[in-house]
Symmetry: C2
Subunit: 357 residues, 2 copies
DNA sequence: ATGAAAGCGCTAACAC
DNA sequence: GTGTTAGCGCTTTCAT
């Protein structure tokens, strides 16, 4: 029945004011001493004492209070369609590197690929007054991008373009990537090459398909009926489904260029199901060079994008955007990919004999 | 030279007060109307008008302000040693599911595995006044855990135990997992079985090694010199290095149980380098069943942990901990794993002939 | 059922 | 170089 002071549960944290009292100065002095930018204005000996006392008291600044006052949260959010896709992890670690150096924390949010849910989660983030947004989710025409524009929310896109170029983006050169892939296959002797495309609603799906067509034309392989089949989403399962369609309609194909690695792995599944072999019956090229594709069976030939650099560049662009008041600096950064040749591609078989279906 | 009101840059957001003025009531009424918990106390027609006006004005509550006032940020952070390890992604998506249903946002932070950096980043999070922490980083004796205790920071561990059991944890049954793996190999006819262990400083490394030894003993295979070699970290590269050591010291091994999938894949690399084959020359069992190990060459036999459930359970435990004021409810949840047999395990070769070194 | 008033912890003019 | 003051946007007693 006795009210005690024992800190049984959640201890109140130490405030700036308490530090000030302990030092014997005013709170604002402590604030100035603690902030590197204003520190120079305080007497050196006072700074020293403040730092000392703050440390000994275990003072931890309340960023919510500071943020309320300054209007900046020093929080940046990254929206990814699927956190388990390691391509995004690599991009994010590149971004984190830059961002944390500037005192920003990065919130990674797995938002799936339903625009409505994406919008809902973004609104939550806006309520938290995040300072900026990195979008790995962009559709070619994306309502979320429109939302960011309306809200004057600093944002940059990674890996995917938005059609109307309303936001800066850092992407890999999809046209070049497809060029690399097709040239490689042609070099090996392939003529009947098909494309396992990504969703047309996403820039990578669209651009890589276009790039594929162009690369085929450049190699004199353009035709009235270019073998292309698009997957509904960038997943291994949908890759398998689309591959079955592709091979069903074009049984003579000897090589497939996939719009990304997950689709390529789905193609592996489909080919295995058919009783065919890769690269014996059909060669496959992926895109992205995500972790572990070097160890799958067979090791995947793929177009490596500069994940890390994409992340870093995006962070730089965003930082710039968050600092500057000029809304004008819209720019795209397009990084060159590189072909990594492994064992999923080989010259086409001379006899063309394959297990029947 | 004319000062205008044109919202050229960052528009000020709409405040509660502005909504109140528009409706013609006091701010506190709007606050009550907007909060589902207190809504019942406001006249229904007023509630309706508030909701309407708030929506039309595009009102977005300032969670920093609310948090400052209430002392709760509704933010939970998850610390992972490596965001590109898909095992954690799966756990996180399980946790997100629960957390977001309760109005919490999940910040995923890639903190690496250096304790000092982990502590530094955690302090930043504390400054943000996060309400809780999910730790996937725990060492067997972890300074970060001590820190959480000191700070009265609600936290739960996933995937890894902390030795002194100061915090609740949700983990897979490592002993059982090893049992499953060893029994399977013994069943296939293996006798010379080695263990590719994880770091001893991490509970999974320690417990799985112990589990391995026990399982061997249970199968009458205990000996004075049980073949075990520990990797320095849970990475594919270190797995390869440790495998070379293991096979160097125990050339007669016909099977290896790895402490996790990444190590197992490293073992693949080492075996390939030796010119040996799996499972022909040596069978390999992994642990975790992370994405894509079904498609590597050969498809990996592995112990599947219930990632998703681990995440969900952890979130539940944390939620409970953040609500309750009783610091007493320390508990561990141990989930049973399941053996997934694929093609990396087979009966040992009768002749035992292998390529020389 | 609603309004008034206070205050969460911090920063930034402004004074001196 | 330091103190004073006000206020960021919200919630929550306490009145009425």
């Amino acid at each position: 029945l006795v009210t005690t002071n024992r800190s049984t549960s959640k201890a109140r944290s130490v405030t700036l004011k308490q530090v000030a009292q302990a030092v014997g100065v005013h709170a604002s002095t402590v604030s100035r001493a603690l902030n590197p930018a204003t520190r120079s204005v305080v007497a050196p000996e006072v700074v020293e004492r403040v730092l000392e006392v703050a440390a000994s008291l275990g003072y931890s600044p309340n960023l919510m209070a500071a943020g309320l006052r300054t209007g900046r949260s020093h929080l940046v959010a990254a929206l990814v369609p699927n956190i388990a896709n390691t391509v995004f992890s690599l991009i994010l670690s590149g971004a984190t590197e830059r961002l944390s150096a500037e005192g920003y924390s990065l919130v990674v949010v797995d938002v799936g690929d339903t625009p409505s849910r994406q919008l809902q989660l973004t609104k939550q983030l806006v309520s938290r007054r995040i300072d900026g947004l990195i979008l790995a989710t962009a559709q070619r025409d994306d309502p979320l991008v429109a939302f960011c524009i309306e809200e004057h929310l600093p944002a940059v896109l990674v890996n995917r373009f938005e059609e109307r170029r309303r936001l800066s983006a850092v992407v890999s050169d999809d046209t070049l990537g497809m060029q690399l892939a097709v040239d490689h296959l042609v070099h090996l002797g392939h003529v009947q090459i098909g494309h396992l495309a990504g969703p047309e609603s996403i820039s990578t799906g669209h651009l890589r398909r276009k790039g594929f067509n162009e690369a085929m034309a450049l190699n004199g392989l353009a035709g009235p009926d270019i073998p292309v089949e698009a997957a509904v989403s960038y997943s291994r399962d949908e890759g398998a489904v689309a591959t079955e369609r592709l091979l069903g309609r074009h049984p003579g194909l000897t090589a497939i260029v996939a719009a990304n690695d997950l689709l390529a792995l789905g193609a592996y599944d489909a080919i295995r199901k058919l009783g065919w072999s890769c690269p014996g019956d059909v060669s496959i090229v992926g895109h992205n060079d995500m972790p572990l594709v070097d160890i799958v069976s067979p090791p995947l030939t793929t177009v490596r994008i500069s994940h890390h650099e994409i992340g870093r560049e995006a962070a730089d662009l965003l930082l710039q955007r968050m600092r500057g008041d000029s809304d004008t600096s819209m720019r795209n950064v397009i990084l060159a990919p590189e072909l990594i040749v492994r064992a999923s591609t080989a010259a086409p078989r001379a006899d063309k004999k394959r297990p029947g279906r």
